[in-house]
């Protein structure tokens, strides 16, 4: 089995993997980072969204070997120790989640969104989140949470 080495949530990791291992499988099975979820198999739902070199990416559609040498951040790497990331805090405060299954991917997408749009309109937020499905919330409080995070002070 070939080896893949990369940085995940600030730590260097190196593992031998089956060539067809997807990044999401690598994170969940090899590294035990089960916060990244698998909600579909067609790159539609976005539950598996992580950041690769700072950009949001659906980890179900990339092989682990393709991220050799890259830097991956997952939902587990977002908070600053005990302190939630402002986006996590906004989702919590505004009831932006119900079952919580789409939430890690939704939050990772939303963080990426704010990296690219400093003060997005509601329309922009809704459009940018088109790659993330939520079956529970009706998106109302997700949009509210992203708006709140956008206007929160950033560290």
């Amino acid at each position: 089995m070939p080896n893949v080495s990369l940085t995940v949530n600030g730590k260097a990791v190196s593992r031998d993997v089956d060539t067809r291992t997807l990044l999401v499988q690598f994170l969940r099975e090899n590294l035990g980072l089960t916060g990244t979820h698998i909600g579909c198999d067609t790159t539609q739902c976005g539950a598996c969204t992580v950041h690769v070199d700072g950009k949001a990416l659906k980890s179900c559609t990339v092989l682990a070997l393709q991220v050799e040498g890259k830097t991956v951040r997952t939902i587990e790497g977002l908070a600053d120790g005990e302190k939630l990331h402002p986006m996590q805090e906004a989702f919590r405060e505004h009831h932006g989640l119900q079952c919580g299954f789409c939430t890690p991917g939704m939050i990772m997408s939303a963080v990426d969104l704010l990296n690219r749009h400093k003060s997005p309109s509601e329309e922009t937020i809704r459009h940018e989140l088109e790659g993330n499905l939520c079956r529970c919330t009706g998106y109302a409080n997700i949009v509210k949470a992203v708006q709140a995070a956008a206007s929160a002070p950033r560290g």
Binding site: D18, R20, R28, L33, T34, G35, T36, H37, I38, G39, C40, D41, T42, Q44, C45, A47, T74, I75, E76, L78, A79, L84, Q88, E89, F91, R92, E93, H95, L97, Q98, C99, G100, F101, C102, T103, P104, I107, I125, R126, H127, L129, E130, N132, L133, C134, R135, C136, T137, G138, Y139, A140, N141, I142, V143
Partner: protein, 780 residues
């Protein structure tokens, strides 16, 4: 220690959820996040054909693949002494005979009956090895003709799916007095008729189904996302494993949504348990989404002829619903209730209709079994009625608001007995309607319509005034345990799937006991903890668990009063309890808080044997009667006649959920219901082709609402406390669907009425709407 309730967590406060800090970190424990030591992985070989006789299943090649430890088929499971998939429902046919219940082996043995029907389970060291080997299972079939709609399944020349079910009819359901209803229609001044469908839905909770089975020296454990581990354990023990209940444990962690779909026992769960015993190692299985589309229970799929009889003044005389429910391939996993009993209960809604008749044929087809989906027949019944009301108003030239007002059950008739046998305890339907009209700015519509027309768009408005009959009474438990150090563990038999039970349940207990909200944790999801528990479904958890919690708290207080009397050297009758403190009546300085009492007990003070030795209680409650949440939703849509695209532009709702324990979560539930209703109304449809192949097998083909599809959802309340439960609450979980289907579809038809279009079937997708417009206005 400070040990008192903080008013900011009182009942009625919008407290944010205690589970969220975990969930937003990705630290939830969903079933697929659990890995058991030495576990193996299962993948299912599924039928690629909708209907056929099994000639053979060749597993030799699969068995020889790398990493494979076992391949099992239905005959193995039968030989292993496992019971067949149960069907708990019993309902009589209209002729009095019992409904047929064809049995099902977890893995098909004689025939396959839908695409996705599991025929073999392959177990290997890794999931990838199991998947490779499942591809190598060879299914030898004699294909049979498939039927995918209720109509085609009932046709004279249709193939029979189960030998027992003549004409493929599962249940021939009837309710009502046929002669009286016919007489009412005969004397009616006006009869409105519509053919209405409730389109088939892929339920699609974002977490796919998953299960892990374990067998260890006679003890079975199943990790699975379900809607109630107590009932799942009992069914599994009694029907499948033929084991004593204490030999079977069902454990449920976080559930990533269910909406009715994860409630039944599925064949995959049986197969992983079988394989775990056969191989002596735990076996885990996780469905791919593609498999979920094929094998999860679908929702809805009813086709009804709906009729409303009115007198000259527009008073409703009778309603008659006649049609079919497509139940898919197997009973058990499927449920007849949405197409039958729940139509009866809910078709009356908020109106004084004195007579009703419902006749439904529930029919087997070569499609995935159809089970419960958010509302399970309630939203459909409200949809049927509200479409009839709008249509009748249009046909009779009566204003649709006025026609509703004229037929409302007035508040002063409460409690009101309906002809479907329900007793409404409370409700102010005219007030709810009036409030909704104001909230939605009903009267400002014409200005908005002109503005839409300036942009070349049609605009329509629609009312959906609903009343839901939530789940009937059952038994439910609550135990309260005071841990060393002062934390409190509540245990209930209801099960959270995202609704957020922990917070409102703790709000209730904190307030009743006068203890700190922050100290209360909710425990659910382990059948070993439970002595009763109907699980969660039918919008009943706050009401049923709420009553159990209230009564359990009362028991804690009763025990505390006895112990406090001993400690304070008073008689029990002298002890009062207020805001978490026991005191001797009239001597306020002689008092003890619950925290003090815990310290005394924890400190080892010997208590006489006749006294309770702790404050802990385990309580089983008879749950309250159904509640009757109701409301009025008003939608405004814009339709582009050039493309047929329907967009909901404004959505306003006024709901009566009685006393809202936590309005933040109630609003979230209502919003979630509306998005699922909007999806069904405008986008979602499961499509099989004539041979029974699923055409909508991924999210690229099955349209589910995304953030951009949703309007702002404006929420207001008109709470009228329920009188039949101690909290005054009414169920809120499914109501959003009930308001959304009729309000959105009435709005769409209102907009399209410009072209003389009087009805659109759900989902009102762009191609359908475009086609309907072109048929009426070819020149456009």
């Amino acid at each position: 220690m400070t040990y008192a309730a903080n008013p900011k967590f009182a009942v009625g406060q919008p407290v944010s959820r205690t589970e969220d800090p975990k969930l937003v970190r990705g630290a939830g424990r969903f079933t697929d996040d659990i890995n058991l030591p030495t576990q193996l992985y299962a993948v299912f070989a599924r039928s690629p054909h909708a209907h056929g006789v099994i000639r053979g299943i060749d597993i030799a090649a699969a068995r020889a693949m790398p990493g494979v430890l076992g391949v099992f088929i239905g005959t193995d499971i039968e030989a292993g002494g496992f019971g067949r998939m149960p069907c708990g429902l019993t309902a009589p046919n209209r002729d009095g005979s019992a409904m047929v219940k064809p049995s099902r082996v977890a893995l098909a043995v004689d025939k396959v009956r839908f695409v996705g029907d599991p025929v073999a389970v392959v177990v290997a060291e890794t999931a990838a090895q199991a998947r490779d080997a499942a591809e190598a299972v060879v299914l030898d079939l004699d294909p049979l003709q498939a039927v995918t709609t209720a109509e085609s399944a009932m046709a004279a020349n249709a193939p029979r799916i189960h030998d027992e079910a003549i004409g493929n009819v599962f249940l021939d359901y009837h309710y009502g007095d046929t002669a009286k209803v016919a007489a009412a229609f005969a004397q009616a001044a006006h009869v409105t008729q519509l053919d209405l469908c409730s389109n088939r839905i892929a339920v699609s909770p974002m977490e796919p189904r998953c299960a892990a089975g374990q067998y260890d020296d006679g003890q079975w454990t199943l990790h699975v996302g379900c809607q109630g581990p107590f009932a799942t354990r009992n069914t599994l023990a009694r029907e499948i494993l033929k084991a004593a209940p204490d030999k079977v444990r069902v454990i449920t962690g976080n559930v990533g949504g269910s909406f009715g779909m994860k409630a039944p026992l599925y064949p995959e769960y049986v197969a992983v348990l079988f394989a775990a015993r056969a191989l002596g190692r735990p076996v885990k299985w996780a469905n791919d989404r593609s498999e979920s589309f094929l094998s999860d229970g679908h929702g809805r799929d009813h086709q009804m002829h709906a009729e409303l009889a009115l007198d000259r003044d527009g008073n409703f005389l009778a309603v008659r619903i006649t049609g079919t429910g497509n139940l898919g391939a197997y009973p058990g996993q499927a449920t007849v209730i949405p197409a039958s009993a729940n139509v009866v209960k809910n078709i009356i809604g908020v109106y004084r209709t004195p007579l009703l008749e419902v006749s439904t044929k529930c029919v087997f087809t070569n499609t995935a079994p159809v089970g419960a989906y958010r509302g399970a027949g309630r939203p459909e019944a409200n949809y049927y009625m509200e479409r009839l009301v709008d249509q009748a108003a249009r046909e009779m030239g009566i204003d649709r608001v006025e026609l509703r007002r004229r037929n409302h059950i007035p508040a002063d008739l409460m409690p009101y007995g309906t002809p479907s046998g329900q007793t409404y305890d409370s409700g102010e339907f005219t007030a709810v309607l009036d409030k909704a009209l104001l909230f939605a700015d009903w009267n400002g519509f014409e200005d908005r319509k002109r503005e839409s027309e300036r942009r070349g768009l049609l605009r329509g408005r629609g009312i959906g005034q609903y009343l839901e009959v939530t789940a009937p009474p059952a038994s439910e438990m609550c135990s309260i345990r005071f841990e060393t150090g002062g934390n409190i563990t509540l245990t209930t038999g209801t099960l959270d799937q995202g609704q957020g039970h922990a917070t409102p349940f703790a709000q209730v207990a904190a307030q009743r006991l006068g203890v700190p909200f922050e100290r209360i944790a909710l425990r659910q999801g382990d059948s070993d903890d439970l002595k009763a528990g109907g699980g969660t479904g039918g919008s009943k958890s706050m009401v049923s668990a709420g009553k159990a919690i209230v009564e359990a708290c009362d028991k804690v207080v009763a025990q505390g009063r006895q112990i406090a009397a001993f400690v304070l050297n008073a008689s029990e009758g002298e002890i009062t309890f207020n805001d978490g403190r026991f005191a001797v009546e009239g001597q306020a300085d002689r008092n003890l808080g619950i925290g003090d009492l815990l310290e005394v007990i924890g400190g080892g003070l010997p208590l006489p044997a006749h006294l309770p030795q702790s404050l802990d209680v385990e309580h089983i409650a008879q749950t309250p009667p159904s509640t009757f949440p109701n409301g009025c939703h008003i939608a405004e849509v814009e339709i582009d006649p050039a493309t047929g695209v329907v967009r909901v532009d404004r959505y306003s709702m006024v709901n009566d959920f009685g006393v809202m324990i936590n309005p933040l979560l109630v609003e979230g539930q209502a919003q979630g219901g509306v998005v699922q209703g909007l999806g069904q109304a405008l986008m979602e449809l499961v499509i099989y082709d004539e041979s029974g192949q699923l055409l909508t097998g991924s999210y690229t083909d099955y349209a589910m609402p995304r953030a951009e599809d949703m309007p702002e959802l404006r929420f207001a309340s008109h709470p009228v406390p329920a009188t039949t439960n101690p909290l005054g609450a009414k169920g809120c979980g499914e109501a959003g669907c009930a308001g959304a289907l009729p309000s959105i579809m009435n709005a769409a038809v209102d907009a399209l009425s410009k072209y003389g279009i009087m009805h659109m079937d759900m989902p009102a997708t762009a191609p359908r709407v475009w086609q309907a417009i072109r048929e009426k206005a070819p020149a456009l």
